[in-house]
């Protein structure tokens, strides 16, 4: 690749983390050196204002840093960014920055890791099915306990702290929101955790948490109307889009490298127009996603919502990266489907972003609503037969054949 190639080779890099990416994937854990490199780089503090221990980086810096880390190792990027960006934003947005400074400080210093526990085993993003509940441990004014199970959650087996979406058991006269965010210390006996093997992002731990009347301090239960949560969750859509873009960039860079080196039918692959066409399409699509990602990061850093744009970005970038990774595997041929090869890992990693933090079609619904189309409407599927389209037609001779059978 050309040395002056904008946006791909000039961004800040995490060389150690990148060098260990294959090992991180193979062992299924993030090496300690990665955390040290992350802490030393200042990455974990970039997204937050100085009053809570951040460095208040501007939009372009935040975007470049996310892109660079995602490019180095998508699993490490996810684990670090779920904690230091998404969870810390949820705590600082919906919580109290003074009261919860004790939770934020260790997340931004890298001493602690957080997880955002939303989905349960029943149905992914349908909050109506969620059962996890917070209730008072004793008489009014005392602490709370939380009960329920969250599953298929990023960082959950390894995390120290969980930001949990839970129902509130309300006492008579409480007309507050039905939902809350509970900031739960996971290092306590009444919390059990389990890991689930997963397709990609294997360095990041992934699994479930079982709360069995686990303790939550009163100050750490924050009632939130559920419709307001999308604003905070959009931080998740944003970083996942960057994960996709980083993966796609890595896949394209590997493809370019391979195309220039691999000789087939007496010439490097790079001279084959079919390969060139794949590279060019990938490049244009990555740039389209990157430019929108940087634009919305700047919007967000400037304090604007940009939620619908982030939704569009997450849909496009994650599905785009799956396509780019698939092309990369094809360009690499048999090497690309060999376990342990970079593009094999990227291909597995890419798919995780489409599903994680709101699957594409769930987000399309939200974007459609933002276009003024109203909320999603469910009606039982019952309109084809009444329309006369629910049965097979008679043959060319009408009912003659059927009559003949009867004779």
């Amino acid at each position: 690749m050309n040395g002056d190639h904008r946006g791909i080779d000039t961004a800040p890099s995490f060389p150690g983390i990148a060098a260990r990416a294959a090992e991180t994937d193979a062992t299924g854990r993030i090496p300690l050196q990665n955390w040290k490199e992350l802490t030393d780089s200042g990455y974990l503090r970039l997204f937050h204002s100085p009053d809570i221990g951040g460095t208040g980086a501007d939009g372009p810096t935040q975007a470049a840093a996310m892109e660079a880390l995602a490019r180095a190792c998508a699993g490490t990027f996810w684990a670090a960014t779920v904690s230091a960006l998404l969870c810390a934003k949820l705590i600082s947005t919906y919580g109290d920055t003074r009261e919860h400074a004790r939770l934020l400080r260790p997340l931004l210093s890298g001493e602690r890791l957080a997880t955002f526990a939303v989905v349960e085993k029943t149905a992914g993003s349908d909050s109506g099915t969620f059962r996890t509940t917070v209730r008072p441990a004793g008489p009014a004014g005392s602490d709370f306990v939380i009960t329920g199970e969250k599953s298929r959650i990023a960082n959950s087996p390894a995390a120290d702290l969980a930001v949990v979406l839970a129902r509130r058991e309300k006492l008579p006269g409480d007309d507050g929101p039905d939902w809350c965010l509970a900031f739960v210390d996971l290092r306590q006996p009444r919390v059990q955790r389990y890991a689930i093997p997963h397709m990609g992002l294997r360095g990041m731990s992934w699994g479930g948490i079982v709360f069995d009347d686990a303790h939550v301090a009163a100050a750490d239960v924050v009632p939130v109307p559920i419709e307001e949560l999308a604003e905070g969750m959009a931080w998740g859509w944003l970083f996942i889009a960057f994960a996709a873009i980083g993966i796609a960039e890595s896949a394209l860079a590997a493809s370019v490298r391979h195309a220039r080196q691999r000789v087939s039918f007496g010439r490097p692959l790079a001279h084959m127009e079919g390969v060139q066409a794949q590279l060019a399409e990938s490049h244009a699509q990555i740039d389209a996603a990157r430019l929108l990602a940087h634009r919305v990061t700047c919007e967000r850093a400037a304090g604007r919502s940009a939620r619908d744009l982030i939704g569009m970005l997450k849909i496009y970038a994650t599905e785009m990266a799956v396509g780019v990774a698939a092309r990369a595997v094809q360009i690499h041929g048999a090497a690309g489907v060999t376990s342990g090869h970079e593009v094999e890992r990227l291909y597995r990693d890419a798919q995780m972003n489409v599903i994680g933090g709101f699957a594409s079609n769930r987000l399309r619904e939200q974007v459609a609503e933002g276009l003024g189309l109203g909320p999603a409407v469910y009606r039982a599927f019952d309109w084809v037969t009444p329309s006369g389209l629910g049965r097979d037609p008679v043959g060319l001779d009408g009912l003659v054949h059927a009559a003949g059978d009867g004779a």
């Binding site: 690749m1 050309n2 190639h5 904008r6 394209l252 370019v256 195309a259 220039r260 790079a270 001279h271 127009e273 390969v275 060139q276 066409a277 590279l279 060019a280 399409e281 490049h283 244009a284 699509q285 740039d287 389209a288 996603a289 430019l291 929108l292 634009r295 604007r304 919502s305 940009a306 939620r307 619908d308 744009l309 939704g311 569009m312 970005l313 849909i315 496009y316 079609n361 987000l363 399309r364 619904e365 974007v367 459609a368 933002g370 276009l371 003024g372 189309l373 109203g374 999603a376 409407v377 009606r379 309109w383 084809v384 329309s387």
Partner: protein
């Protein structure tokens, strides 16, 4: 938030206050849109509309936005010019007319601005900027020598000076109404030179032939039958087109002729949203159908994605640096695909193909196919991008 970004992407990109996109959209909605379908049916160019766009009183004329103010132009940045053209496409709903405007206002004027000598600039640019003189360019000649040259240049008879141009050019946008033509001609040694050839040059003939698409653009075929042109018709250096005029002409086509399509995509998306609210299928509103909602969500996203690539590429013409051919080509590659995707998505929505209205979907469907093949199409754009990525080619 969304309506803001759908309409005002360029204002953000430019950091400007009042959105030029909005301004041009309103102007084109008033001047171009009412007759777009009718002119399309009749394959008609309306010089009065061009004059009205050129002399717009409340803002920059659309004929010479990139011509410096000292030469009578709008003195706009490339970014703001891109916004003008986006607004023209959006409000005018006439891809053919927007193409003709773009070819004149960007391709024809910028080449004289960039490569014309002071005499040429003084002669042509003020009258081009006012809309009095139209400059025409063949879309066959905007991709360097990807297509074999169809015009030759030989020195005129000894002692006379000047050059003799012979050959023919088709797909000349603006030909029937042009005052002059940009012609790139090949010499016997294979090198190429750009010329500015006046319409009155003896031996120059214009045939009334054009493509099926973009019917509101005035098309023609230009025949050069031993046309003798003076030395002063040479744009920049003799034999220098491959290093000078051709790369700029290609990048201008890829970026600025794409800009009206961003506007057309936004218009189609807005229409589709409004239509989906009105129509019913299987007894329920189309806006309740998930597939329609997903189509609309993806259309809106395609507009934003295309906008980012387009304004990045346009912005590279501002600030004095060298624009990236790779970014210009990527913008065209993406916008052309997005224009087709948005048009197809819009056409699939129930009730889209009505018998009333201005038939933008049908016209855009036909024109987007043509647009996707101009600027070289994927067969030129992808190798340009790949060459840059691979460091070969």
């Amino acid at each position: 938030m969304l309506s803001h970004t759908l309409a005002n992407g360029a204002a953000d990109a430019d950091g400007g206050g009042l959105s030029l996109v909005e301004w041009a959209r309103e102007l084109a909605g008033r001047v171009v849109r009412p007759t777009a379908a009718e002119r399309d049916r009749d394959r008609r160019w309306d010089q009065g509309i061009f004059a009205e766009l050129s002399g717009a009183r409340s803002g920059p004329g659309l004929a010479g936005p990139l011509v410096p103010r000292a030469l009578g132009g709008g003195g706009l940045s490339a970014t703001r010019t891109c916004a003008l053209l986006e607004g023209l496409g959006d409000g005018g709903r006439d891809p053919g007319l927007a193409l003709a405007v773009g070819v004149h206002a960007v391709l024809a004027t910028v080449l004289l601005r960039a490569f014309g000598n002071p005499r040429q600039q003084r002669r042509y640019l003020p009258r081009m900027a006012s809309g009095e003189w139209v400059g025409a360019v063949s879309l066959r000649q905007t991709q360097g020598a990807a297509h074999a040259s169809t015009v030759t240049a030989r020195p005129a008879a000894a002692g006379l000076g000047g050059w003799v141009l012979s050959g023919e050019l088709d797909l000349v946008a603006g030909a029937p109404v042009a005052h002059h033509f940009l012609v790139i001609a090949a010499h016997d040694d294979g090198s190429r030179t750009a010329f500015v050839v006046d319409r009155t040059t003896p031996g120059l003939l214009i045939n009334d032939v054009g493509p099926v698409a973009m019917r509101t653009c005035p098309w023609g075929q230009v025949m050069l039958d031993g046309c003798v042109v003076p030395e002063d018709a040479v744009l920049s250096t003799v034999g220098g087109a491959a290093d000078e005029v051709e790369p700029l002409l290609a990048a201008l086509d890829w970026v600025f002729l794409s800009a009206p399509w961003l506007g057309v995509m936004r218009a189609l998306t807005r229409d589709a949203i409004a239509d989906a609210r009105e129509h019913h299928l299987f007894g329920r509103p189309v806006v309740h159908a998930q597939s329609a909602r997903f189509t609309l969500a993806d259309q809106a996203a395609q507009c934003e994605l295309a906008s980012g690539l387009l304004y990045r590429a346009a912005g590279q013409f501002d600030g004095g640096g060298r624009p990236s051919r790779e970014d210009a080509a990527a913008a065209r590659l993406f916008v052309a695909a997005a224009a087709r995707a948005v048009t197809e998505g819009a056409a699939r929505l129930p009730g889209a193909l009505g018998t009333t209205g201005d038939h933008l979907i049908e016209r855009a469907h036909r024109d987007a196919l043509f647009f996707a093949e101009t600027g070289g199409g994927t067969e030129v754009l992808r190798p340009v991008i790949a060459a840059s990525l691979l460091g070969i080619g």
